[in-house]
Subunit: 478 residues, 2 copies
Amino acid sequence: MSTEKLPARSENFSEWYNQVVLRAELADYAPVRGCMVIRPYGWALWENIQQALDRRFKETGHVNAAFPLFIPMSFLEKEKEHVEGFSPELAVVTVGGGETLEEPLVVRPTSETIIGYMYSKWIRSYRDLPVLINQWGNVVRWEMRTRLFLRTLEFYWQEGHTAHATEEEALEETLRMLNVYTDFAYNEAAIPVIPGRKSETEKFAGAVQSYTIEAMMGDTRALQSGTSHFLGQNFARAFDIQYLDRNNQLQYCWTTSWGLSTRFIGAIIMTHGDDQGLILPPRLAPIQIVIVPIYRSEAEQSQVMAVATQLHKQLSTRFRVKVDDRSEVTPGFKFNDWELRGVPLRIEIGPKDVEKGVLTVARRDIPGKAGKITIHPNNLEAQFAQLLDDIHHALLKRATQFRDEHIFDPKDYEELKEVVQHGWAFSWWCGSAECEAKVKEDTKATTRCIPLEQPGGEGRCIVCGQRATQKVYFARAY
Amino acid sequence: MSTEKLPARSENFSEWYNQVVLRAELADYAPVRGCMVIRPYGWALWENIQQALDRRFKETGHVNAAFPLFIPMSFLEKEKEHVEGFSPELAVVTVGGGETLEEPLVVRPTSETIIGYMYSKWIRSYRDLPVLINQWGNVVRWEMRTRLFLRTLEFYWQEGHTAHATEEEALEETLRMLNVYTDFAYNEAAIPVIPGRKSETEKFAGAVQSYTIEAMMGDTRALQSGTSHFLGQNFARAFDIQYLDRNNQLQYCWTTSWGLSTRFIGAIIMTHGDDQGLILPPRLAPIQIVIVPIYRSEAEQSQVMAVATQLHKQLSTRFRVKVDDRSEVTPGFKFNDWELRGVPLRIEIGPKDVEKGVLTVARRDIPGKAGKITIHPNNLEAQFAQLLDDIHHALLKRATQFRDEHIFDPKDYEELKEVVQHGWAFSWWCGSAECEAKVKEDTKATTRCIPLEQPGGEGRCIVCGQRATQKVYFARAY
């Protein structure tokens, strides 16, 4: 860790973000333009995200599988909107084993096409449905402007792909998985996302409807944090995914897809972090509790380390705990280091604590003395479980409050133009692409989502004044 | 599942293998030449392999991370032997975002080079060492002749990459991980692999020494099932991985790499399977116990299903259990189906069992009546744990016996030529590449490994008759 001070989050959010990612050793720049290396601390965070999601996928009946990295170029061309959306961003393999390939292979930007092809082979009858498969893997999109985690050429994600007998079931699945993402964001990451539907302009290339969870970052910009798509019969027709129904009639399937990526790590950083660095939500933090021994003499060291070691052993049965026993740096350096890395709880053990038989604990989410607590060592596991739970709820509450303070209901278009500079506008919208485009041109803000929760009734479009039956969030986005 | 009979394993091992993989729905052919789709049942097996290995990696101090899929062509060229070994098998991205790339990007065939580059950035002092990182991911090697799991263009694996201050530590690490693989093969997969060193000819491109675990398949051919490489300072020099030692002197690191891939699934299939299909080792099997209800009337059905459901609930707390409640197929069909899929234990519940209050259990590893056991429902979990354990040991014993019966100590070269047609030869070898090449030319058998366990003493090379101090396994291999 560098000892140089971080840029202030309030002054230069963008540079603060870059520095936090690098200095907390979450990720590093790769020697290939736009690619990243996810370092062990960042990957441990991703593994915890994976586990929390995978558990939910399996509880809702999904299984994992693995489809090829390479997709024949001709596959993408089978779904017109899909190829239009993705062809500008493709990485293409043209040489294999020293020979020029007859048909170039695309490095998958997403897998609807190749999975659709396999489903058409596997699905024969209604008895084979639904097919509920998820894949954890890497995908590549040739982005021009990249940011660590937020937008990289290669990124890691999961992509669920399901096939159903009826439209209704596929729509249910689309919303079920949106709900899984929402639940995950609130209850694991303490991020109060807003679930909703994407506009026609913003939807996935090839989808009938796209749903999203949108999160507000610390600079008030929006981050699309997970998406769930109802694909109708678009891919089923393109890849001939058909089944014999109970009446022995051949029918096209209805399909969905849904994904959440390493971008979500960006959401965690930018939702919870502060001027000292990361603040990791306790349920996902790779290290939940760090123990820092404090001593001046060798006698003190052995006394303090004995307690630290015992404590580590006791707490490790239930929590992710680390003892920082480095001898080459001071306790003060360690405090800063673990604050930068966002560890939710720090236990400081000095000779006085040992003498008194108490523990001094510092909460990462409450800086300075206000966050320091003295704990008596009875029923320690329950006390720490409670503390971590408290931090989760405090982070969620703070983020919700920040979000709600920065959502505005502008009275007219002039005010909309102003509020999207420092927040989101929640406004009636007629639904036309023209009004959406105008806002984008005037303010750089886009429609983020038409939230599932609507006030009801109707109003006038904030842009054109026509009758509107839905409210939408306008915001500048990552 | 098709109801057609499998090819007999003893008659057409190769076709038996292909059919088992496809019909048990472990994997399928992808629409890209040489690539595979790993289906949910196969992926669940891989997930269990991953967990068993990952736990061992973490216990030995390793952490996971993720490095880029793409490697600049120039990186590979920095290590002479490495590029010579891998350049015929590369997939190359030449177009990105619609533009021809200035420098082509290789889809990683292995990651020593790009990880070496990053280590040179991260490692500064002896305090940063050792670096013990593993990566789970996909790699691509442009193979001409492919087989599902055994040799595919894209495959999944883990690759560990470590950097150390001294040669001794790096050698220790190399052997530590070979030992982890050996332990995993014996204690999770019930495969009695033989750990040993690769010859100069057979070693990894860029390694100083390669170690391997070699397994004997059911047709007596050898399968290299995991490798651990001591890379010396070859990659440290090529990528300038240096550190300041305790005396403030700049030193090159010593590095290792080690990997185990989805190929190991092929080893499991070909070690344990029989004419009925797969036999999965219980500790890795995605389904350890399948419950098949048997009934003729609706009254029987509700009676039997009540017991099946209760049993599923009880056993699921400790085992991976499935109730096969399909109504469109007969119990006999289900028996065949789960035998094909290699589930270690099958519980058959019919009205008579319900009446008597007992369970009929069939062991997959003992076909027919001999494998049927009647169980009384007291302390069920302990009984099933014992049964699964028994199966593990029975499989390991059988495979060990088969292996040992097919390892020969030929008295002369003529006999060697004969025995490698139906087994392995364990023979003194002078160590020369010429003798190795002669055996290969005459018999297609290669040196598989110089086992760590040696008889000691010395003998005469089986090929040239010169003095030899080591014995080696010669075998035809996958």
